[in-house]
Amino acid sequence: MTRRFDTGFAPHIPARASVASVMRQVLYALIPGVLAHCWYFGPGVLLQILLASLFAVGLEAAMLRLRRRPVLQGLQDFSALVTAVLFALCLPPLAPWWIALTGMFFAIVIAKHLYGGLGHNVFNPAMVGYVVVLICFPQSMTQWLPAAAPGSWSVGLWDSIASVLSGGPPATLQWDAISQATPLDTLRTGVNSGMTVDEIRAAPVFGDFGGLGWEWIANWYALGGLWLLWRRIISWQVPVTMIGSVVLLGLLAYFADPGSNPSPMQHVFSGALVLGAFFIATDPVSGCASNRGRLVFGAGVGILTLVIRRWGGYPDGVAFAVLMMNMAAPLIDRYTVPRCYGK
């Protein structure tokens, strides 16, 4: 009695990994940092995440429809959500809603789908969105809140919602009264006006290492990043070389001129460096394919970040550095193809 079977290609054990599970784990790893962000700066960041996610998913669905791809399947891989969350974490907590919309439009529609969709984007979509809103809305993008413990947040939940939806300052308050420059901002304006780093660091915006509050957020991001490393979602090459090159160059600059160069610790714990090292520069699609290439990529991002912070026009250079290294990634890949067995 012959029994017939369906056939298939080897290997016949199904793969356990999936893009959705990879993306979900990235989101889980961001939770500690997001909570720390809320702790110090209030619930605004959650609003930004919510708005950005809504816009991202909506725009992604629309683009998939336009491109005649299966919509539900395209949304199920969570990649739009990761872009949205990473973008939202770079925004000031009270940024008006159109910032999230503009950012997501440029990230999802232009940087991702017009280049071919998942797996085909040349540039990191979250960074493209961030850079566009940074350049188009300079005033809104520099209205940061001061760090404070919960209970003494300068703006409460309902005021935050009202401010974000209307675009204006919270009721009965002026922007000048509540907003404050970031630590990197303060550092830059201070150095340009001739103060030494030690004098600048006396300002209340600074904590022990980096900015008050920001340094702890960076710690929690790092914790999430280490978890991702342990789960093998990201590889160690990019974070280590990125932070390593910042520390190395920062050390050299600090010993050369302690007056106008902050210490390497300052650099590492300010701005988006830790977030960038573990979550942004490790984006696999726009980065390098091989581990050797990633060493170069990470080092490049670190060096460019320092250069932009010291001599460039913007206080934090991580976004621009990532985009510039995205441009260089194909060339790096070409010269770092893994050596084949036997050759």
Partner: protein
């Protein structure tokens, strides 16, 4: 300080190295090792395919109706090297007809169909008397006549491999018992229950290749198999010392335990673990002075030399989540798979796929009428839960996991891009030929891309392209030669014509009146 490759190879087995990548997979081997190895019963018909391995099919030496004894040669191979097929049991040739032949393409081919007479009577057997003093070439010839091929999966004719080893003067013989693919346990059971055959075969092969030392590699999780093998080795060495023979060769057989990581059992990976060397591109292990043989091949060699028996049966693992009683059987070549599965309790309700080989590198068969062939080390029946494709295929997200696990140190995502876009020359330059099709990259891909199938497809396309290119080059050369030939002939003709005209003119000028 790096030694030259051959010298480093001579230090094989002194320490263990690592190979790049690889996966730790769940073994699932215990289920088939619970019951002892047993002989499978004689089926009503045996179907021996004439196409058993790469190259042209064999040509039959028998005709329908002819009576044959067990072990009689029934077919002969010419390409790529001479080899034989033998009758697995005594009986009569029912027919030589098209039948399923367990080929990966699923196509049918010619098979010799034998009706057993139940007596299972051997033909006249001629063992090699006193093999310890026989000439190595005699041993190699006997191995070739016995139709022995590599039983680890590649089924390359063993006598050819041994001749190549003899030409290149090898120093180390590696007996490969590192059975790394999940579910398969035939080698382990063979080592547990017939360790003496394996050791004898290893010693014979050492003599046949004149190697200085023999390493028997087993996985570190094969506890019982290792013990039995060691015991058999000790007994063998004690015997040969007792017999007063020159035991210097036999002393050099020892066991090495290697880590259990897929695909450790691949020839190149095992060599890398034992010697730390990679076989250079375009060369073979024999160029480094090493030769690998599977433990089952060694056991078959022992049968051929000590008892004169050709290769007519082998251990096969019948296992998987789709059979009731997984077991290892000593099965005759040509036994239909349906018969083997019946002997293992039959199919479970949700049996969904029939594989010949392991889950990573085996191929699917569309029916169980397919027969046992020399390459069949495992018949794996999986149920739906083990094979269901859960996710659709997504574009490559360039995560690099595939490169992390590739034992051949390739970048599978790059190869996949190249092949998808028809850039086969680029794929070849990126190392497509070094791919051993182990399936590690498929297993870790989050986008569930069928990478290994792309590589198989790409390799075949590339070979076809090379063939077409060489045919075109040949045609162009012949065309240009022809053009030259015609031009030369034309020129000759013009010259002759001009000469004739010239001589005519001269004649006319000398005698103007004669030509009117």
């Amino acid at each position: 300080m790096r030694l030259p490759a051959r010298e480093q190879a001579e230090l094989a087995g002194q320490r263990l190295y690592h190979f790049h990548g690889g996966l730790r997979l769940r073994h699932n081997k215990e289920v088939s090792c619970r019951s002892p190895l047993r002989r499978s019963r004689l089926p009503p018909r045996l179907y021996v395919p004439l196409l058993q391995h790469a190259g042209e099919p064999a040509s039959a030496l028998v005709v329908p109706g002819q009576l044959v004894l067990k072990g009689e040669a029934i077919a002969r191979f010419e390409q790529p090297v001479a080899g034989f097929l033998h009758a697995p049991t005594s009986g009569s040739i029912a027919a030589i007809a098209r039948h399923a032949i367990s080929h990966p393409s699923g196509q049918e081919g010619l098979a010799v169909i034998i009706r057993p007479d139940g007596r299972d009577q051997w033909c006249a057997l001629q063992p090699v008397v006193d093999w310890q003093t026989a000439e190595p070439i005699t041993l190699r010839q006997k191995i070739g006549e016995a139709g022995i091929v590599g039983l680890g999966g590649a089924v390359f004719p063993t006598s050819a491999k041994l001749s190549d080893a003899h030409d290149k003067t090898i120093h180390t013989l590696i007996i490969n018992g590192a059975e790394c693919e999940p579910w398969i346990s035939c080698d382990e059971m063979l080592m547990r229950e017939q360790a003496a055959r394996v050791i004898a075969g290893a010693a014979i092969l050492q003599r046949a290749t004149e190697a200085r030392q023999t390493l028997i590699a087993i996985e570190d999780q094969m506890g019982e198999a290792g013990e039995r093998l060691q015991a058999a080795l000790d007994a063998f060495q004690a015997n040969s010392r007792h017999d007063g023979r020159n035991a210097s060769g036999q002393e050099q057989i020892r066991m090495v335990k290697v880590t259990t990581i897929y695909p450790e059992g691949g020839e190149r990976q095992l060599i890398q673990v034992l010697t730390g060397l990679e076989v250079p591109a375009g060369q073979r292990p024999t160029d480094l002075g090493l030769l690998c043989q599977n433990v089952a091949t060694a056991a078959a060699v022992a049968d051929a030399i000590l008892e004169g028996k050709p290769l007519v049966e082998r251990v096969v693992t019948i296992t998987g989540s789709g059979v009731h009683q997984p077991a290892n059987l000593l099965a005759l070549l040509g036994t239909p798979i349906s018969d083997l599965i019946e002997q293992c309790g039959g199919y479970r309700q949700d049996a969904a796929r029939l594989l010949l080989g392991g889950p990573m590198m085996g191929y699917a068969l569309s029916s169980d009428a397919n027969p046992m062939i020399k390459a069949a080390n495992c018949v794996l029946v999986l149920n739906h839960a083990d094979i269901a494709a859960e996710h659709p295929e997504l574009p490559c997200i360039r995560c690099g996991e595939c490169a992390r696990v590739c034992p051949s140190i390739l970048l599978p995502q790059q190869l996949q891009w190249d092949i998808r876009n028809g850039l086969l020359a680029d794929a070849s330059a990126h190392g497509l030929d070094a791919c051993i099709e182990c399936g590690c990259c498929d297993f870790v891909c989050p986008s569930q891309i069928p990478l290994t199938q792309w590589f198989r497809f790409g390799k075949a396309q590339w070979q076809q392209q090379l063939q077409e290119q060489s045919a075109a080059t040949l045609a162009r050369q012949r065309f240009e030669a022809r053009e030259l030939r015609l031009a030369a002939a034309d020129q000759q003709r013009q010259q002759k014509l001009a000469q004739k005209r010239q001589s005519l003119k001269e004649r006319r000028s000398r005698q103007p009146g004669d030509e009117t």
